[in-house]
């Protein structure tokens, strides 16, 4: 059905794809796996016709055909009716529309009758269990919710080829199951799915074949079932294998409390009137790594906003290093609590990487020579030393995440809140994440990790919190979390490692 022949793409001088080939048959569900920066997104954008049609690289060569017809000769309208695409960064293909608007958009633009559109939108909202999001604006949704809506929109026209770039990013385990079930239910033998992922386990039941991508080349297709146990191949491709033994952290005795959240209730309420946080409480001690999990939309974002003072609270207290932070400005809190969102672009605003790191050191004051030296040393620590004069918006998502770690590290904050870091599944990224965590905990600082990646939480967190119904429903040792009533209520599969089986 889909054929990529001798594809070469360069964004600068060096090609990111160098003569890559890929074939996809009707009915095939293909998973493309590779480390961050291995050009998975470029490959998918070429397969979708985005490159070179809408995004022009500095060099492009090769041919892409769909059912024998070159994409270059297809009209844009036909092309994007035949191919549904969800990009890695959903923000790059969505704007301030409503949930129903975004799902209906491809159908409205093709003049489909109203009754037919309404029926299809309703069916997709039910299939993906997005009923609670009816009437919401896309930009107000959590990252995971937004991604599910974008996937529903991509499936609206029942495309022959569905291309998903890192579709599980930001999705909680239940949403991942809904996604894979929807892919299994909806797509027939005439359609195909091409997925790029760093977390292959999520697609074990859906994808039949896997190809690795590295150094600009795509490997031959292998059966997923036969690859699962070949740990070496996954590691050579630069990602964590789906089946592996866990490396759990050495728990050292925690120090004094450095962040206290007590009985916090927010002014912000849900549609039915209940506060998003309703009596939430926990504490963070020096040297700890806390994992925070909860459903998409459970209030995790509101929790950190409350800690920083960006969301107003009606009741409760926040203490930072033993001092009641009531009355502190957001900036004063932020100098002790560093926050790294999943999408780092939300908090970057300087013109170069060096300025971003300097800003973390000086908080806007004029920097001196020692500050500049510290900034450069920190960039080098996280592998960004050669990019100090680059604009942060020109970096890849992974590099932006590394920049976030560098800023949080050098700022000397007592606690760093990492919201769904995109470094957990890539071997190099994971090494940097581990370096950051060690750097923090060795200095008696702490990390609060918000993630849907339960294996990551299991492997790095010394304590786990489960947020449900606006409060912390479980607070305890990570190894006990998966047996707790609060976790069972989520209905998620617990993380499991070899010899027990495939990681969830």
């Amino acid at each position: 059905m889909l054929a990529l022949k001798d594809i070469t793409v360069s964004h600068g001088e060096e090609p990111v794809l160098a003569g890559a080939n890929l074939n996809l048959s009707a009915g095939e569900r293909l998973l493309v796996c590779g480390a961050a920066g291995s050009a998975k997104s470029t490959l998918l954008n070429v397969a979708a016709g985005l490159i070179p049609r809408l995004v022009t690289p500095s060099h492009f060569a090769g041919e892409v055909t769909l059912s024998g017809e070159p994409l270059s000769t297809m009209s844009k309208d036909t092309l994007f009716a035949e191919i549904g695409l969800v990009m890695q960064s959903v923000e790059e293909q969505s704007w301030d529309l409503g949930v129903e608007d975004l799902i209906a958009f491809p159908m409205e633009n093709r003049s489909m009758p109203k009754a037919e559109i309404r029926k299809r939108v309703d069916a997709l909202l039910k299939q993906f269990q997005l009923d609670a999001l009816r009437g919401r604006r896309v930009l107000t949704l959590s990252g995971g919710e937004r991604r599910m809506v974008a996937i529903a929109a991509a499936m609206a026209l029942s495309p022959r080829l569905l291309i998903l770039d890192e579709p599980t990013t930001g999705l909680d385990p239940a949403a991942r199951q809904r996604l894979t079930a929807a892919l299994g239910d909806t797509l027939d033998s005439n359609s195909a799915v091409l997925v790029a992922e760093q977390d292959p386990a999520a697609f074990h039941g859906v994808a039949r074949t896997v190809r690795f991508i590295s150094e600009g080349q795509v490997s031959e297709a292998r059966g997923f079932g036969t690859l699962v146990n070949e740990e070496r191949l996954w590691r050579e491709a630069g990602i964590l294998p789906p089946r592996r033994t866990a490396s759990r952290p050495k728990a050292s005795a925690p120090g004094a409390e450095i962040l206290g959240v007590r009985d916090v209730t927010t002014i912000l309420c849900r549609a039915h009137g209940q506060p998003v946080l309703n009596g939430a409480g926990f504490m963070v001690r020096a040297g700890e790594v806390l994992g925070l999990i909860g459903r998409n939309g459970a209030g995790k974002t509101t929790l950190f906003q409350s800690i920083l003072g960006l969301a107003r609270i009606s009741r409760g207290t926040i203490t930072i290093e033993g001092i009641d932070a009531t009355g502190w400005t957001v900036a004063r809190r932020a100098r002790r609590i560093a926050y790294l969102p999943q999408n780092m672009r939300r908090i970057l605003f300087n013109m170069t990487l060096a300025e971003e790191v300097l800003f973390a050191i000086t908080a806007g004051a004029d920097p001196g020579e020692p500050d500049r030296n510290r900034a450069q040393a920190c960039l080098e620590k996280y592998g960004l030393g050669g990019l100090s004069e680059t604009n942060p918006f020109a970096l890849s998502v992974r590099q932006q995440a590394l920049l976030g770690l560098a800023c949080a590290d050098v700022a000397g904050a007592a606690v760093a809140i990492l919201d769904e870091p995109l470094l957990g599944r890539d071997l190099n990224g994971r090494a940097m994440l581990d370096l950051f965590i060690r750097s923090m905990t060795d200095k008696g600082r702490a990390v609060l990790l918000i993630s849907h990646d339960l294996e990551l939480v299991e492997e790095v967190a010394t304590r786990t919190l489960i947020l449900a119904d606006g409060r912390v429903a479980f607070d305890g040792d990570s190894s006990e979390a998966w047996q707790s009533a609060a976790f069972r209520a989520l209905g998620w599969p617990a993380p499991s490692f070899t010899p027990d089986g495939l990681v969830a």
Binding site: L54, G98, R332, F393
Partner: protein, 223 residues
């Protein structure tokens, strides 16, 4: 969401132009100022999003317009009383005008504008221009606030400082806002392409459109 927010975009726009015309036709401050006050009061009654920001902007506008007009008119030989009356009338007209269009912009989502335009069978280019003109300004305002929150969340003290310093920090947000605006334009352009927006084809809409524009799709019973 207030049901007034769901009024058809074109009806809101017609009312906005009508009120603006009345404001500029009123003879002096005795009628202009009450109309401006009533318009601003309606913003509060209808709980228009971002109203605090609007009030700050409107206060600054009144201050600047009144001061500059009084100074200008007095230089031209007007008495202080006459200059104040003229300046107040002018400020009131501007407040009325900005308030009604602020209402239209803040209560009309791009989706509701697309729906109203599509239901009216407007040419796609008109649909697009209206949605972007009235829809993008609130998006940029949100981005401006988001950048401020990002600065705060990175430890930059922009609240507990003097007014001139706040103004300086606000101006410094211009560059990242510009970058964000370019990115937004790129995202909208990409979205229009991959979701099949075509200037040669009139769109339909999923929404029921009449005096009100449907806000959410109710669940459809399936047998």
């Amino acid at each position: 969401m207030n049901s007034v927010h769901n009024v058809n975009f074109f009806i809101k726009l017609t009312f906005a132009f009508a009120i603006m015309a009345i404001a500029w036709l009123l003879p002096d401050w005795r009628s202009s100022v009450p109309l401006a006050a009533a318009t601003v009061a309606l913003l509060a009654i209808f709980r228009v999003p971002g109203i605090r920001t609007y009030f700050k902007g409107a206060a600054l506008l009144v201050l600047l317009v009144t001061a500059s007009w009084i100074a200008n008119l007095m230089i031209q030989g007007e008495t202080l009383v006459a200059a104040v009356e003229t300046a107040l009338a002018m400020a009131a007209r501007l407040v009325t005008t900005t308030a009604v269009f602020f209402f239209v912009m803040e209560t009309s989502t791009p989706g509701s504008i697309l729906a109203a335009s599509s239901a009216a069978r407007l040419p796609p280019i008109a649909t697009l221009v209206l949605s972007l003109t009235f829809g993008v300004i609130p998006m940029l305002r949100h981005d401006f606030e988001r950048i401020a929150d990002a600065q705060r969340a990175r430890g930059m003290e922009i609240d507990d400082v003097s007014f001139p310093m706040r103004l300086r920090f606000a101006l410094a947000r211009g560059v990242p806002l510009l970058i964000q605006a370019v990115r937004m334009a790129h995202a909208i352009s990409l979205s229009l392409s991959i979701y099949g927006f075509d200037l040669s084809r009139k769109r339909t809409t999923w929404r029921e459109v009449g005096l009100l524009v449907e806000h959410r799709l109710p669940g459809i019973e399936t047998s």
